[in-house]
């Protein structure tokens, strides 16, 4: 088991190198630092000195991959690739355009992001499974069909409308919670309630429908027929047998998403003004802060790969038939 995990983690290295190369190519090769400087400083009347200063401030004034002016190993290390791209492996993200350290910014912002993402994830999972089980219990009746139609309708509404509608109705008309903002400690509850509810509601349609098909696949299996033949009640069959087996694919799919909860939600955080990583990313995109976007891409990939490893481990935990070699 441990050998397997170590091997999986070793597999992750070439993938992260690939991600690193892609971001390097995107951010430094497709458009040179000169292009970025010219755009950041405004297109008209940019002096070469201003461009050089902009690049020097950010450490972009070195050659991309090969520094011929230096000697020895410094030919390789004194380059943008090593200093800006390869350094991310040590989680050294450098500075944002406003001069703050990106790594410490990420640490402080992960808290608010998790404060929304974790409740949305947990409450959402429970709600979706309950709704799906309800539809399966009433399968092939009007409850089931209208449930599926409702799910498809809910799926067809853009996440933007859920947020705008929720903000308008709950915060503006009913004035139950503040429209946006964030505070530390217990005060945060007031601010978190609405985003969490909206996050859960907007995910129900797609999730419940998918889980319903998973449960329906299980319900035609032979062990379910055996359970019914033993004389178990339908509820017992559903909860003790179908739910447990149907949970395996749900669990493994959800585990993959857990590490990515750190990244927060772009939309929710920016609409509700929550100072998490999602709004950090959106602000960086809007201000064209390339260093931050690059760091978030790399962080996201690392978390995704952690998710993949966790998925494999959760398989063995949930399903004793699976053995990792």
């Amino acid at each position: 088991m441990i050998a397997y995990i170590v091997r999986r983690l070793l597999y992750a290295i070439p993938i992260l190198i690939g991600v690193n190369l892609i971001t390097f190519a995107l951010f430094f090769v497709v458009n040179t630092p000169d292009d970025m400087a010219r755009m950041a400083l405004g297109m008209k009347r940019v002096t070469p000195e201003a461009i050089e200063r902009w690049k020097a401030e950010r450490g972009y004034d070195k050659p991309l991959v090969w520094n011929a002016a230096e000697g020895g190993s410094r030919k390789v290390t004194e380059t943008i690739f090593v200093e800006k791209s390869a350094a991310m492996f040590a989680f050294d993200f450098g500075q944002a355009d406003d001069g703050r350290d990106i790594a410490s910014e990420i640490r402080t912002r992960a808290g608010p992001s998790l404060a929304i993402a974790v409740p949305v994830f947990v409450v959402g999972l429970v709600t979706m499974i309950s709704v799906a089980l309800l539809m399966v219990f009433f399968r092939a009746t009007y409850v089931d069909t209208s449930g599926v139609v409702l799910c498809v309708a809910l799926m067809s509404i853009s996440a933007l409308f859920y947020i705008i509608g929720g903000q308008y109705l709950v915060a503006k008309v009913w004035r139950l919670v503040p429209i946006s903002g964030y505070a530390g400690g217990l005060d945060a509850l007031r601010f978190l309630l609405l985003p969490v509810v909206i996050g859960v509601v907007s995910g129900i349609g797609a999730g419940a429908r998918w889980y319903r098909t998973l449960f329906l696949e299980e319900i035609n299996r032979e062990y379910v027929r055996t359970a019914r033949a033993k004389g178990l009640s339908e509820l017992r069959v559903l909860f003790r047998h179908v739910l447990r087996n149907g949970l395996i694919p749900i669990l493994t799919a959800s585990v993959a998403a857990i590490p990515l909860l750190f990244m927060g939600s772009l939309l929710t955080e920016s609409f509700f003004g929550i100072p998490g990583l999602g709004s950090y990313t959106i602000d960086a995109i809007n201000h064209q802060d390339f260093a931050v976007v690059r760091s978030m891409v790399f962080l996201g990939s690392v978390l995704y790969i952690v998710g993949l490893v966790l998925t494999d481990i959760s398989y063995t935990w949930a399903d004793p038939r699976v053995r990792l070699e």
């Binding site: 755009m39 067809s156 509404i157 853009s158 772009l266 995109i285 064209q288």
Partner: protein, 489 residues
């Protein structure tokens, strides 16, 4: 009516690709109709009511989008006067004098909606309003100076002398007339189509279309189209005198914007699959069939791409395109061409980030297929790998490809709105659902609230995505062998 001889066709890149895609689709339908084994599963789609209703709604959306994809440059006002001189001299002139065309592009949809695109008020006005939404100082309204009041609109309800009871009667009249004429046109068109299909059984065919032939649900499609025609007729008659969905901040008609948004959504939803399909199909099948190092490389490729959060990869790529477009302004003649380039590029990036799912599905299916007897037999006979892939594997995974294609559409339309909101979607100058929602968001904070642009965007986007989802379900139920088996059991 525009004089067709004076305009200059000016197709954008996305226009060409979209029209090409439609032609390819027509070719595919023709091919499927000729082969009974291919047509059989599609007949099942015709059995499903939801499938037929959603298909006809989608067809209407596609028609609007296609009309909006036929771009041309209208002649400048002084040019036709020269060109349309009387007699032979005029004709000669028309050829010798080079017509000057406007820089601005218009589409067939614009021409059809004329004069709606040009009926621009000064600022916000509510749906069906005759007066503006904000008070402004009116000169000469009160004796001896200015008074603040809601000014009358330049176009909305401008034909009315008094705005009270006359307006209600006028609206009612327009709705009834429009609905009736829309319905009459649609019934007439159906009857004409029945006649064109062969005059002998025309009446029976017409009756079958409307009341069902007892076999499938195609009459549901006919009724949906009749319903849409009725609605469209009423809308058209109302739009002739009012801003049906109000106007936005710069006074542009919201209905017009909605109709323009449809094309953007369709382009994103369809052209992206043009990128996804070739990459996903080739790599997925190759990985499953050849296994070994090819499989390793392809798996590495898609795991790497998958591991980058989609929105961030798109954001990074779009930011980089933005840098390119800003540093090379000379490559783009017009604002429209610039926006079009960005739209095309967005499709490309979306395609590159979304082929991984399809490739993984196809790899799994190919791994299963390659062990089947008929593939083994082909290998034993020494058939080359490429012919096995083309003749034995590809046709047998085609249903997965088609299902993935329709299933992706709705997701892409929704993604466009989110990406445009984040600021990495379409060009801000391009009308799309995303840009409409984005600007409407700020209007929510106004007091009293400007709700109509958002509401209109919601209704039309919901209709489009819901139809796409329902159609995708119908197609999946019909084409997926797994559901077929389950349906029988």
């Amino acid at each position: 009516m525009i004089d067709l001889t004076t305009i200059e066709p000016a197709l954008l890149w996305t226009d060409v690709l979209l029209i090409g895609l439609v032609l390819a689709l027509v070719g595919l339908v023709w091919h499927i109709r000729r082969h009974a084994h291919l047509a059989a599963p599609w007949r099942k789609v015709a059995l499903s009511r939801a499938g037929m209703v959603s298909a006809s709604v989608l067809a209407v959306f596609a028609g609007i989008g296609l009309l909006d994809s036929l771009h041309y440059r209208p002649a400048l006002p002084d040019a036709p006067a020269l060109a349309a001189g009387p007699g032979a001299a005029g004709k000669a002139l028309r050829h010798s004098v080079e017509l000057r065309h406007s820089v601005e592009l218009r589409s067939a949809l614009d021409a059809l909606l004329d004069p709606l695109p040009t009926q621009v008020e000064t600022t916000y006005s509510a749906p069906m309003a005759t007066r503006a939404f904000n008070k402004t100082a009116l000169e000469g309204a009160a004796p001896g100076g200015t008074a603040r009041d809601y000014p009358r609109l330049k176009f909305g309800g401008a034909h009315l002398a008094d705005e009270g009871a006359a307006k209600v009667r006028d609206i009612g009249e327009r709705v009834v007339r429009g609905a009736l004429s829309g319905l009459a046109c649609a019934v007439g068109a159906l009857a004409l189509l029945a006649l064109l299909c062969g005059p002998r059984a025309a009446i029976g065919r017409f009756r079958g279309w409307l009341f069902g032939n007892g076999e499938d649900a195609t009459h549901w499609a006919a009724w949906t189209l009749l319903g849409i025609a009725t609605l469209a007729g009423a809308l058209a008659w109302l739009a002739g005198g009012y801003h049906v969905f109000g106007t936005d901040k710069v006074g542009q008609d919201v209905l017009y914007q909605i109709l323009k948004s449809i094309r953007t959504a369709l382009v994103i939803g369809t052209l992206t699959t043009l990128v996804t399909l070739p990459i996903g199909v080739v790599l997925g099948i190759a990985a499953g069939y050849f296994r070994g190092w090819i499989d390793d490389v392809i798996q590495y490729l898609y795991t790497t791409l998958n591991s980058i959060p989609g929105v961030l990869l798109i954001a990074a790529s779009v930011l980089m395109t933005q840098v390119y477009m800003d540093t090379h302004p000379e490559s783009f003649e017009t604002v429209t061409a610039r926006a079009d380039f960005r739209l095309l590029f967005l499709c490309l990036i979306l395609g590159i980030t979304s082929w991984t799912g399809l490739a993984r599905l196809l790899r799994g299916e190919t791994l299963k297929l390659r062990e089947l007897e008929y593939v083994q037999a082909a290998q034993a006979f020494g058939v080359s790998s490429w012919s096995i892939l083309g003749r034995h594997i590809l046709p047998n995974v085609m249903h997965i490809v088609l299902i993935a294609m329709v299933m992706d559409f709705s997701g892409l339309v929704l993604a466009e709105a989110v990406l445009s909101y984040v600021g990495v979607g379409v060009d801000p100058s391009m009308i799309s659902f995303g840009t409409m929602i984005n600007s409407a968001r700020l209007e929510m904070a106004r007091e009293p609230m400007v709700w109509w642009a958002l509401a209109a965007a919601f209704v039309f986007m919901f209709a489009l995505v819901l139809a796409a989802n329902l159609f995708a379900d119908a197609v999946r139920d019909a084409l997926d062998p797994r559901t077929r088996v389950r349906g029988v059991a």
